[in-house]
Amino acid sequence: MKKQLTKLAFISALAVTTFLPTAHAADYVIDSKGAHASINFKVQHLGYSWLTGRFDKFSGSFSYDAKNIAASKIEVNIDTSSINSNHAERDKHLKSDDFLDISKFANAKFVSNSVTDKGDGKLAIAGTLTLHGVSKEIVIDAQTIGEGKDPWGGYRVGFSGTTNISLTDFAIKMNLGPASDNVQLSLHIEGIKQ
């Protein structure tokens, strides 16, 4: 009986903390379903040109309130097998253990630690990127694009962000030459208010 009571108390506490509406920021789900979001990368080829590609599958959510930026949070999960550089042989190579090693690391993840308002709709989103099994602190320089009601009864807000990562930092061993260690990631995110 006593055991059951404690169990009940625990469940109630959990329910209250989980379902209590958070006053400060609204929750959004990234519209990957409607593909109003993309995660792209850009890397130099031999130092002579840019090669671009993207991750076709990812999901995520964030909380955001324009009046209380510091309370914002974002989490994005990327299916690494969905890398697409518009070339099957290259994508196969990118998924192999020379690069992403998707058989071991099927997911990449970004979780924010802090969001700083830089004014003028600019945000600095600091957080942990886990890629190829390596977790590293990065900062995404983001920009608010717009927010408001959509024509179908929903509410949306969108951002763009960029960051740079080094392949060696994430223990990706393939050497593409000195100009190609640095990869630019750019995210275009639209969230639908929940």
Partner: protein, 192 residues
């Protein structure tokens, strides 16, 4: 030129050894090319060569099968046990099957994005495009493991031939290197 009941004809012998050379050559090239560094002079050329030879080999194998269908198969040597006859038959069928499966999976890797395969910069083999998700990875994995299996089986096939030649001292290997056996030798063995 034609096969007889006793011997393989020159065309069959030619196809056999050209296939052997190509299978081992393509395997070595494939094994070598996947670990080349990005700045290696062969990084781009080796896969192009591998694909060009692979497609050409496919055509060769079609001709080989067509030729085979018009030919009689020389009968088993009398010295072969029924187990050896069965094992040999299964191995030969599996080798042919594996060769085709490795070629098809190879094609499915390179054409998964709708790009065709260029053969020696001369002709373009059209792509069927992507039929399953992550086709290049799945086809790649099958291509790799079937190639290992093919090489293992081809090695077994070669070892068996050497065993017949040096241990059993029969004509199994002689027949495929073109040393024609005469009717009498067969009769002798049959009589014994």
């Amino acid at each position: 030129m034609n096969n007889t009941n006793l011997n393989y004809g020159s065309v069959s012998i030619f196809f056999h050894w050209l296939s052997a050379l190509t299978v081992f050559g393509l395997f070595a090239l494939g094994f070598y090319m996947v670990d080349l560094t990005y700045y290696h002079p062969w990084y781009k050329t080796a896969p192009e060569l591998h694909k060009s030879i692979g497609i050409t080999f496919f055509l060769l194998m079609i001709f080989r099968l067509l030729w085979r269908s018009t030919q009689i198969t020389p009968s088993h040597l009398a010295s072969h046990t029924s187990l050896e006859q069965k094992a040999g038959k299964i191995t030969h069928t599996l080798l042919l099957l594996l060769i085709f499966m490795v070629m098809i999976t190879g094609y499915l890797i390179s054409t998964a994005d709708g790009r065709g395969i260029e053969v020696f910069e001369l002709i373009m083999i059209p792509a069927l495009g992507s039929m399953i998700e992550n086709q290049e990875d799945i086809a790649g994995l099958i291509h790799q493991w079937l190639a290992y299996l093919l090489i293992a089986l081809a090695t077994l096939h070669a070892l068996a031939a050497l065993k017949h030649h040096f241990i059993d001292k029969d004509n199994t290997l002689n027949r495929i290197i073109g040393k024609r056996q005469k009717l009498e030798s067969i009769n002798e063995k049959t009589v014994n």
